[in-house]
Symmetry: C2
Subunit: 645 residues, 2 copies
């Protein structure tokens, strides 16, 4: 009898394994479908629905099927059991049921009013996966990839503007959204749709902060395909990447803002604590991420010295790179900081220093690996967003709140872009023109981060209302604004068809042709950039990479012994070409990584072939001479006889 029971329990266990397999299979199926669709779109030049929109659509249909086709609800799972002996929820619970002990693992806390939502069928419950999976597994590769493929030259050139949009803009967006939503909440309380105590001003700000995270994926993919003006591209890319980090830390700070007495009244102490929290977490995460990248850079830097030859083992190098970058995320999380911010700056630093130390094979491997992980994670998230509309069980659709939120999001975006652009234009030599501003206003898509922040806490009714609304805003912006990007570009008469890499290469060539000195970065660069550039060039690059001048020439004379120790032997040789090569190679990075998104014009085979070839040459040859540049340009342009150079 005991034997028999054991076998049955083994079978039960098998059942559980298989269930996990079924869910993963659903996602695999959706992803395969998405890939096949992307492929079809690419072949038919279809531009009105982007792949992320497609993934979301498939998720939606699958959610519909799971909701209405799979088996009937399980009665037992909706029942609440009493347990008087406990006074808090332990991480694991051992329960004796008919003389058999079962182990249960803590999942989460549930409000009483949500209990009936848990009576849904098991499949639905299984498909609603843990929000922590978003934060720990799916988001890091996306954010790291964004940091790793940051277009550095253009980024630093627009650093001031990007930082303004990212920090000040996000704060403005958060506050404006919060205020408008609070107004609507007041109205809802007035007409009796809500009770006053349910929805505080801090909740509105929380909603504002999570809705301030704009998504770079969709718009930038289209921009890249169409080769939109590089400055616009960089502004939007830089803003949306940094703004994610800001929004995440902001949301965290607001959620832990807990005034002692009345939650509606303003509590100065708690407020400054939140501001301090924000700054502390941001700075800490930044430091954590950068320091991991510096460690990686130093390890990979050693590969030229006599006793270590890591570069001979590209897989070890790739593995180390991958693990240390992921550790940056995990360490930040473990230390109570924000992993996403850490991994973003880790990616930026890795691209700036470590990348230059890697062997050619590892350069390609890391790039392809992160590109692949980014691709998968992105599409999983968009599929899941589609799924969530039907599989999430506690949606609260409140038309007034939804309307208010839509209004708030667009007004907040306007309050972010236009006034800040006006202020920035006062200081910028190269102004941000009106059509760029309209395009930036239009490109305020909400995506993965907003969704992930909203799903992290869906216990209380206000949070559920926010989640439902956030989901709808994501759907609307991805489908409508994402789909309207191409017509909008035409309508605003924004230059398309510029290849940013070629622009850069042409610039680099003309720079190389003229005299090469630090003044080449003159006209276009901001003062912030110049300070940073000089410090980086003189001290950091020589210590962490093989590029840049020897430290012996940049440090004061009394530091010479230390300087000689730290400088790589190769630094004495390749000084003149070191700095430009670095920028150009890092720019090629983006070509490679976005290559698969590239829209291939009709006579496709040739041009793609040569682009790929160029990409590969760039990677294989770490430091190219000028002659090779010309070759590359010819390749990229697809004109073997481009003698105008």
């Amino acid at each position: 009898m005991e034997k028999l029971k054991k076998y049955i329990s083994l079978k039960d266990e098998d059942q559980f394994y298989h269930q996990g397999a079924v869910e993963l299979l659903v996602f695999n199926f959706l992803l395969i479908l998405t890939i096949l669709t992307i492929w079809l779109f690419k072949n038919h030049q279809f531009r009105f629905l982007h792949e992320t929109g497609g993934a979301m659509l498939y998720g939606l249909v699958m959610g519909l099927i799971i909701r209405y086709v799979t088996k009937a609800p399980d009665v037992e799972s909706g029942t609440v059991y009493e347990c008087e002996k406990l006074n808090s929820g332990p991480p694991t619970l051992l329960i004796n049921i008919t003389n058999q002990v079962y182990e249960y693992q803590y999942k989460r806390e549930i409000s009483h009013h949500n209990v009936n939502g848990h009576q849904g069928n098991a499949m639905l419950q299984k498909m609603t996966f843990d929000p922590s999976i978003f934060f720990n597994i799916l988001l890091p590769p996306i954010i790291f990839h964004a940091g790793y493929s940051l277009k550095k030259r253009h980024f630093f050139r627009n650093l001031g503007s990007i930082l303004t949009y990212a920090f000040l803009g996000t704060a403005i967006s958060c506050i404006v959204t919060g205020l408008i939503v609070y107004g609507f909440v007041k109205v809802m309380v007035h007409i009796g749709q809500l009770k006053q105590w349910e929805f505080h001003f801090t909740d509105c700000l929380f909603f504002g902060s999570l809705m301030s995270a704009t998504d770079p994926v969709t718009v930038l993919a289209i921009f890249h395909n169409l080769h939109v003006d590089t400055d616009l591209y960089t502004l939007l890319f830089g803003e949306s990447v940094l703004n994610d980090a800001v929004a995440i830390v902001l949301t965290h700070s607001i959620s832990i803002y807990s005034p002692k007495e009345n939650p509606n009244a303003f509590d100065a102490a708690a407020f400054f604590q939140s501001v301090g929290n924000f700054l502390g977490i941001f700075a800490g995460s930044f430091a954590m991420g950068s320091s991991y990248a510096v460690v990686t850079a130093l390890i990979s830097f050693m590969h030229l010295t006599k006793f270590t030859k890591l570069c001979e083992f590209p897989m070890l190098e790739t593995g180390l790179f991958f693990l240390l970058s992921w550790s940056a995320f995990l360490s930040a999380e473990a230390a109570g900081l924000t992993g996403i911010v850490a991994v973003l700056f880790c990616g930026v630093t890795q691209a700036h220093y470590t990348y230059n130390n890697l062997s050619p094979d590892s350069k390609m491997r890391t790039k392809q690996l992160f590109e692949f992980m980014n691709f998968l994670a992105e599409n999983v998230i968009f599929c899941y967003m589609g799924l969530a509309l039907f599989t999430f069980q506690n949606h609260i659709f409140n038309p007034l709140f939804i309307f208010g939120a839509f209004v708030a999001v667009f007004v907040a975006r306007a309050c972010n872009i236009y006034p800040l652009s006006f202020l920035l234009n006062l200081g910028r030599k190269q102004k941000i023109p009106g059509n760029f501003q309209h395009m930036m206003m239009f490109s305020g898509l909400r995506g993965a981060i907003a969704f992930a922040l909203a799903i992290r806490d869906t216990e209380s009714q206000p949070k559920q209302m926010m989640f439902t609304t956030a989901l709808l805003i994501v759907f609307f912006t991805v489908w409508v604004l994402g789909g309207g990007t191409t017509p909008m570009l035409t309508w605003l008469q924004i230059r398309v068809g510029m290849d940013p890499d070629e622009v850069l290469k042409a610039e680099a060539l003309s720079q190389s042709a003229s005299n090469l000195d630090k003044n080449t970065t003159k006209a276009e660069s901001a003062w912030l950039f110049r300070i940073w550039y000089s410090f980086d060039h003189k001290y950091l690059k020589p210590i962490l990479t093989h590029a840049g001048p020897p430290l012996t020439t940049t440090l004061p004379a009394w530091c010479n012994p230390v300087a000689r120790l730290l400088t790589s032997p190769s630094a004495y040789g390749d000084q003149p070409k070191g700095e430009d090569t670095d920028y150009i190679i890092n720019n090629d990075e983006l070509t490679e990584s976005h290559e698969s998104f590239a829209h291939i014009p009709v006579p496709a085979q040739d041009s793609t072939g040569s682009t790929q070839a160029t990409g590969k040459e760039d990677i294989h040859e770490g430091d190219l001479g000028l002659g090779e540049y010309k070759l590359q340009l010819q390749h990229a342009a697809g004109q073997p006889q481009m003698n105008s150079l």
Copy 2:
């Protein structure tokens, strides 16, 4: 008040996230340490501890630290609560604790005697991760990689022997181990260490089957580094790969063998049901895996036709390849079959057909991706095995049982290798010499699969005893036998220093030089190989790849319309070189994938450089002419003037 509680619960939740981060960080740290160690070993030509042994050692030390340094046990987690209202364990449990509802997720069933094991500290519990993670996440990439990098020509040449060792050998090993262990169990019952009803003969067979899974990782890495005789390599590799599949299905079949009455008596009906199960599951999984691979091959095959250009998007191609292969695993699991077996045959079929259809870029990407995943998964498993010795809480060390198991495992290996080799030598033209047999006997390492099968069920006391014993056998074999491989090879005077790829290329060249016909595979090949080869060459290759003769020539005349439809336009052109190229490219695969394991001789830089270059050329050029072969050979041999060819 309610507000406050909500914030506390949010903080609790954060605590949980961070805990997950800490565990992952521990693994990351161990892996980073392992990578740095491997790198050190490679630089110092240290051959007595293989990287897997190192990973296990680090895991062991970390387990020790976690066990004795982390915080004191949590009292609450060891208490068992009564619940009279339930009569089975639901997947999710809602519990009302002090007016707050908590959701708990079903984890597993626990025997009463194990409850005190759960009083350990939370960190230990967290580090002991779910066995299903092994089966669903970590094993598939390893097994797929094994299948994908199977050395096909040598494999098919020795197909009969490999199948004999894998099927018959595993069955012998299982039964012999079971019988010997059963003898020891009888003795233990006699001297009062065990109660009769606790340990049945089926449990002994279960132990026998899980201990029959030999591990290819450690020995083969050493073999590859030393370039051991190709036939020995292939026999061992083929045996250990297939034998894993057999052992997994066998274990499953034995575990569901449930005689109706007395579990000790032989029940013919139940026995035949188990045999039927074994055959059904094996065949089903094989079919599932192969058919997914065929689907992938067909999709990638279409890339040459006019309307589809998947090969222009290497990331999509790689993604599709990855997802479809994983789906093979998941579908098999979802259908109640064995995913591991499915993914193994999926890998073999992918390598045989799909690989040839991929674009050069995708060939490299898939190879590097699977290689990387294999590397990570392998080292995680070995780290975890080390950890498990201290973190697993219900070890039962029974010296007599452990001694018995050690004896049983070695006797069973001997009963597997020597008699079967004798029988095989009766039929083989190229005999398996005595020293090969001794080496195969010595190479019976137990690793990941044995461990994963043992940890899958550790509820009852016999199962815990088995798990502890299996773990010790893994430690012993990996450290002692693994470490002794190099001395043993010397002692047995087995040829080392043969580069299998060069042997093959030389063979291929001499074949190409003489007349190229199907008779080239004559002397060495088994009849099984010839039948399969002919069918594959005539029908499957032309349908699924661009190699092989056009179907119009191999099919009867009345099939011509269909044949013309199915044959790729390029098949008419490259027939003569198609077949050999295929084998050679697939052999190069292994060089690439094991490249990082390769022991670099002292004047390392040059020889590695050229090996890598060769590998890359192979990948880039799908179908190489003969002239290119010569070039490759020169590269590989590092002799630019090898005119003897």
